[in-house]
């Protein structure tokens, strides 16, 4: 990996981390736990489209591990990791399936799988099936927030990335 690539990826990690920290400082939109916009996913989406899956994975893992130091408890690492890995796997598959087009669809599927991964961890930790009663709410919210972050990524791709590419 060249120095230039490493620096670029570090820059993306910082962007994702900043978005994540700012978002976690915002008050929750709805009183149901586990529902948030997931704006840091914008960076993952952009990387998935413009860089290789391995590099995306690297940035994602770095962001999750670092975010625990900045804004979370040790327990949330497990949730974030499970959600992040599920999300990445699903988004990678969908992105390949759609050959990089329709980023917002990729984002929606990613958000749904992110929620599914977190529910699974919650189930494994508490070992109560009652956590799956949350699934309908999480599917609805995941679709909406996934669409939102997907559109953010779409417009970032369209208007921001050309400038970033030119300068790097």
């Amino acid at each position: 990996m060249s120095i230039k690539k490493m620096t670029t990826l570090a820059l993306y990690t910082v962007i994702a981390l900043t978005i994540f920290v700012i978002e976690s400082a915002l008050p929750p939109l709805v009183p149901i736990p586990g529902i948030k916009l997931g704006l840091a996913n914008i960076v993952t989406l952009l990387l998935l489209k413009n860089y290789s899956p391995g590099e995306t994975f690297l940035v994602l893992i770095m962001r999750i591990v670092l975010s625990v130091f900045f804004a979370g408890q040790a327990m949330s690492l497990l949730y974030s990791l499970a959600g992040g890995l599920f999300c990445f796997a699903a988004m990678y598959a969908v992105n390949r399936f759609l050959s990089g087009k329709f980023l917002f669809v990729t984002s929606i599927i990613g958000a749904l799988f992110h929620n599914a991964g977190q529910l699974l961890v919650a189930f494994l930790i508490t070992s109560t099936t009652a956590v799956f009663l949350y699934a309908p709410y999480l599917i609805l919210s995941g679709t909406i927030t996934g669409l939102f972050t997907g559109l953010c990524a779409h417009f970032a791709q369209k208007y921001l990335l050309p400038h970033m590419k030119r300068n790097t």
């Binding site: 969908v94 759609l98 087009k101 669809v105 309908p136 599917i139 609805l140």
Partner: protein, 140 residues
């Protein structure tokens, strides 16, 4: 020209694949809305009343099974009484010979939030939800 590009975009393979995925997501959404509404209706008034006298459970009444309003009188050892009115989904004390009448002034309760307590007669009426309960914020 622009018409041609948009039509070719519309007929592209990715467009159809994306449509399939969107349909899949929409079906999931519809299903979850249905589940939420279904559960809402099921949960309504599904409470059982637990009546304790001097700390001992006297009777339980499933408030979702009550079709007609009925009155039940409870006596304690010292001759005090409370007349309890049970209706569909709610329960109240309508009359008592205790000095303060806190239980009567409390009115009817519909949820497990606050119990009815008559301290002079050591009578407690608690509502508890029937069936499974979703985890609260703390357990999550």
């Amino acid at each position: 020209m622009s018409d041609k590009t948009s039509s070719s975009k519309r007929n592209s393979k990715e467009y159809r694949k994306a449509l399939i995925l969107i349909c899949f997501v929409m079906v999931l959404c519809a299903l979850s809305v249905f589940l939420i509404v279904f559960r809402r209706n099921q949960d309504k008034n599904s409470y059982a009343a637990y009546i304790y006298s001097d700390g001992e459970l006297q009777t339980t009444i499933d408030l979702s099974q009550i079709t007609e309003t009925q009155d039940i009188t409870f006596y304690d050892e010292t001759g005090g009484y409370n007349i309890i009115r049970v209706s569909y989904g709610k329960i109240e004390v309508i009359e008592a010979n205790c000095p303060d009448k806190v239980c009567v002034h409390m009115g009817a309760i519909h949820s497990s939030a606050v119990p009815i307590v008559c301290l002079p007669h050591k009578l407690v009426i608690v509502l508890k939800e029937n069936g499974i309960k979703a985890p609260d914020t703390i357990t999550y």
